[in-house]
Symmetry: C2
Subunit: 230 residues, 2 copies
DNA sequence: GCATATTTGTCCGTATGTATA
DNA sequence: CTATACATACGGACAAATATG
C-alpha cells in the first residue's frame, strides 16, 4: 500500500533566486526541501515520490531530482525500489531497537569526565531546553520535538568529534520517521523536557557519572514507549 | 596540488556482461570499481576524478558516474568540491584521531558479556585471522591488510546491529586512506596478527573483559603508530 | 490473462556558469 | 584579462519494467 500526496501544494518552494544567490547546488536545495517535508511528516512513510510529479512541481529536471533522491537514500530517509521508484522509508520495531542501541552507545560516551563542562560548552544544551519549554508553553508541539532533537545533538557534540556529530545528525533524522508513529509527538517530547533539564543540572555541577546514568534511563524509557506504540 | 592519473589503463573493467547478468545496477558496479582502486591505492589521495575521462573509460554516462561519486562521497572516500569536481579524499592527523576515537567506542562495545560467544559466532573472526596469517606467510602484503580489516568488521558484527555494521564498514574504508601514509602497509598489519589471535583466544575462553582491554590497547597502539607516520 | 499506458533506468547532446592556467 | 577546461543542469530519447484497465 502506498500513500499518495497531492504534489503541487506541498512543494511551494525553490522557485526563488537560483542565479542570484546560488550558494549551494540545485541538488542540495532539492534534497533539503524533501528532507524537511519528510522530517515534518508532510510526506509520511510509504509515500511514493514520483519523479515526474515532484520534478515538475519543483521545476527541476529528472536527473537533478534523482541525484537528490540518491542523497536522501544514503541518509536512510527514502528507499529505492528497483523500477518502482523511491518511497519515504518506513521504520519498524527492529529499527527502533537498533537506533536506540546506537544512542545508548554514543550519547553517554559523549559525557566524559575529563572534558571541562564549562558554561560555554553547555550553552547549546541550555538553549535547546529553554526553546523546548517555550514551544511547549505556546502549544507548538512540532517545535518541542525539534528542540528535543537539538538537545541530544548538543549532547553528542560534547564528544568533540566531527564523525560523531554527523552520525548523530543522521540518527536523529531517522528517528523522526519513528516519532510519526506515536499519536501525539508533541506530548511525547514534552514529557521528557524536565528530564533534559535534570541532566543539564547534573552536568553543571560536575556530576557527570550521575548525568550519564540519567541519560541512559531516559533513552531506555523512550525506547520502551516507542516500541509500545508499534 | 592535484594528482593526475592516466585514466584508460586504470579502469580496464566493466566492459563485460552489462545486459546479461545485470544483477546489481550500473551505479553499484562503477562505485565498486572506484572503491577498489581507491582502497588499493591505485588512485591516491588528491587524485582528481574527472567525469569525462572516467566516464568514457568505463563506458558509462556522466549521470551514472555522478551517482557513483555521490555514493563514494557518503562513504568518505572522495570529496565533492562545488564546481570543481570530485577528488580522492586526503585524511590528516585530526581524522586519524577521530576515527580511532570512534573505533575505541564501537569495537569494545561489541564485545558484550551476555552475548554467547559460541563457536558459530566467533567463526568469522577465526577465518579472518587464518586468512591474514596465510597471506603473511605467502608475502601478499595487501591481503594481510584486507584480512585485518575483516577481523575488525567481524568484531563489530558481534554487536548484532545493522547500523553498527554499516558504520564500521565506512569507518574501515576511510582508514584505508590512512594506511597508505605508512611506508609498508603489509608490515604494519602483520605486526598485529598475533594480537588479533590473542583477542580471539580470550573470547573463546569467555574472558570478555580481558579481550576488551586487549582490544583497547591494540587500538591505542595502532593509532600512535599511524600518528607517528604523519 | 492480456494489451495498453505509465514510470523508471540509462544514456546522450547541449547550454550555461565557474574555476584555473 | 582572456581562453580553456570542466562541472552543473536541462531536455529528450529509448528500452525495460511495472501498473492499469
Amino acid at each position: 500500500m502506498t500513500v499518495e500526496v497531492e504534489t503541487p501544494a506541498v512543494f511551494a518552494t525553490l522557485a526563488q533566486d537560483r542565479s542570484l544567490l546560488a550558494r549551494s547546488s540545485t541538488v542540495e536545495r532539492v534534497a533539503e526541501i524533501l528532507r524537511e517535508r519528510i522530517i515534518e511528516g508532510v510526506l509520511p512513510p510509504d509515500t511514493r515520490l514520483a519523479e515526474d510529479a515532484i520534478g515538475s512541481a519543483l521545476g527541476v529536471s529528472r536527473n537533478t531530482l534523482r541525484e537528490a533522491f540518491r542523497q536522501l537514500s544514503h541518509e536512510g530517509l527514502v528507499v529505492h525500489k528497483h523500477n518502482r521508484g523511491v518511497f519515504v522509508r518506513r521504520l519498524f520495531a527492529d529499527d527502533v531497537i537498533d537506533l536506540y542501541r546506537l544512542r545508548r552507545l554514543i550519547e553517554p560516551a559523549a559525557l566524559t569526565e575529563d572534558a571541562q563542562m564549562s558554561e560555554e560548552r553547555l550553552h547549546p544544551l541550555r538553549a535547546a531546553i529553554t526553546a523546548g519549554e517555550q514551544a511547549a508553553s505556546e502549544g507548538r508541539g512540532g517545535d518541542v520535538g525539534t528542540a528535543n532533537m537539538r538537545f541530544h545533538q548538543a549532547i553528542a557534540a560534547l564528544a568533540d568529534s566531527p564523525r560523531i556529530d554527523l552520525l548523530m545528525r543522521r540518527l536523529l533524522a531517522e528517528l523522526r520517521l519513528v516519532f510519526h508513529a506515536v499519536e501525539h509527538p508533541g506530548a511525547f517530547h514534552e514529557s521528557y523536557l524536565h528530564r533534559n533539564r535534570e541532566i543539564l543540572t547534573m552536568l553543571e555541577r560536575g556530576a557527570t557519572r550521575e548525568a550519564r546514568q540519567a541519560l541512559l534511563n531516559y533513552l531506555s524509557d523512550a525506547e520502551q514507549r516507542l516500541l509500545a506504540a508499534y
